[in-house]
Symmetry: C2
Subunit: 356 residues, 2 copies
Amino acid sequence: MQTCIQLASKGKGFVSPNPLVGSVIVRDDKIIGKGYHKNFGKAHAEVNAILDAKKNGHNVEGAVLYVNLEPCSHLGKTGSCAELLITEKIKKVVIGMKDPYEKVNGKGMKKLRDAGIEVVVGVLEDECKELNKFFIRFVTKKLPYVSLKIAQSIDGKIALNNFKSQWITGEASRKFVHQLRSEYDVVLIGKNTAKYDNPSLTVRDVRGRTPYRIVIDNNSSLPENLKLFTDEDKERTYVVTGISKKSVTKIYNYNMIRVREKDQKLILKDILKKLYSMDISSVLVEGGANLYSQFAKSDLYDDIYLFIAPKIVGRGISSFSDFEVTKLSQAKNLEFVYTKKFDRDILIYSKKCSQA
Amino acid sequence: MQTCIQLASKGKGFVSPNPLVGSVIVRDDKIIGKGYHKNFGKAHAEVNAILDAKKNGHNVEGAVLYVNLEPCSHLGKTGSCAELLITEKIKKVVIGMKDPYEKVNGKGMKKLRDAGIEVVVGVLEDECKELNKFFIRFVTKKLPYVSLKIAQSIDGKIALNNFKSQWITGEASRKFVHQLRSEYDVVLIGKNTAKYDNPSLTVRDVRGRTPYRIVIDNNSSLPENLKLFTDEDKERTYVVTGISKKSVTKIYNYNMIRVREKDQKLILKDILKKLYSMDISSVLVEGGANLYSQFAKSDLYDDIYLFIAPKIVGRGISSFSDFEVTKLSQAKNLEFVYTKKFDRDILIYSKKCSQA
């Protein structure tokens, strides 16, 4: 199953909003075929594993197939995997987790069992769920998975009061952020971050594709010479605007996503719903304080990558400066999952916690 | 040497401003005697180790003695240890680190070598230096060692704007803080912390003695019914005041430490010098933001115990809210040494870093 997860991970950044799936076929304790879901709409992992086994001259009849997600039962862009495994006379199927997608959700396993195939489910289930957290959120809540990425000093400052902030953390941290970007569908930032930092938000220090770069700018007032609007990836930049099509008075040099304003504001949940409707299953929020605060207020984030630089900054812009509670019991609760050193910085990875 | 360090650690909280010293005597690869420096002014570790060996019927002549700090050469409150080792005909002395105290500083080793004893120095030297960081600071800089202990949310807030803050971190973190208190000579706080938190600053959840509790209150205006001034340890509470003896107009129910004001302010360095003159070698600063900021400005701290609670607080009091820089390059640099989980909280321990 560990091998399935590793194989599945190779699809990161390319299969969304489909799940990451890896599969291996085993006979006599030896792996005779491996496969993974490589690209959205392309062959599923099980198909690739069977093709791989056959290509290497193996017969898959009577073999055991391992896969991190329940084989599909429906006919989507590709054939039903459950049917294929029955046709190929696989003897036993070991599954990491049930597919929560409503069109599958146990139907794949039922089909296999009805055909007399032995089915085991729940192997390394937690790891399999972590692997497909974007997909699970997407199909169960009909919203994208949201991670906040924050880089701050030990005293919680993401910038000085004059908005000076770039490179508060070191190179190793930034490289990891590039890795993250390559795995998310979208990097989302607020207007001030776009204006003051003028970031590229591209994937530079690691291999991988640049995500969609989306800026929230309700009145489309950002200068059009920003890197996001002019660099070689500019086709992948979108501005979320509240301006309706008919009230547009000029031509913009960037793609727009229209969300209706309420009280002259864009509501975060409306933006996320819109992104969901665009088949976006994961969003990495890279600032600034106003946007982080909106996510905290609305409870619409799932986890936080908090990079802490070994610095005391003092007065400046706090990471959640626009969020306010009157009692400590109203503070948002998290659960620390792990810490990791990146050269001189520390990353604290935490998940939202619904209980106090 | 590891055993010496463990033995020495038993003296934590009781030997200041003397060093923590542990010693073992070995013959034929077996430990025949152990000792440590138990209380300020009492027998040194080497003496206790020799007495221990003799008590158990061992002859120490020709044995090897291990000790984490160079044996003393001068006659202080006790006899010179170097002389004793010569008299007792110890064959070889293995030393963790040279004693930086000006009255020793190599003279102990010289005495031993002149008497024909083999001397090895620098064994586990870093660990030995860490063990005696208070003592080293005290004798080399003539100032106490200063640690900042900060408990904050992930966004760097130590309290809400209404000063509500108590128990931002959990029980396990607080227990560790009690352990720290038992090892420092002094716990130091500012006036606002005394007033709004009304803390006890005692050692409750672990065994150990309560340190001196010192509050900075330049005009002695704190209410006299605070816990610090009324509880059973009130004799161990001191107020640093700028009021001179002759301008006192009332009788206070607490001990005072007088430091001369400059421009109606108390200068941190003057306070620390005063504490040094009182034989205080270690200070644990427990808040609040104003005091932390003064330490940051003046570079008079040595390390930071930063406890982070898994909470987003938003608007509130930042840990270093009275410190300000105009460029990021002026931020104070630290070096992260380790992180440790305390139940739901994380401790990040860092040291001051002189280089960027």
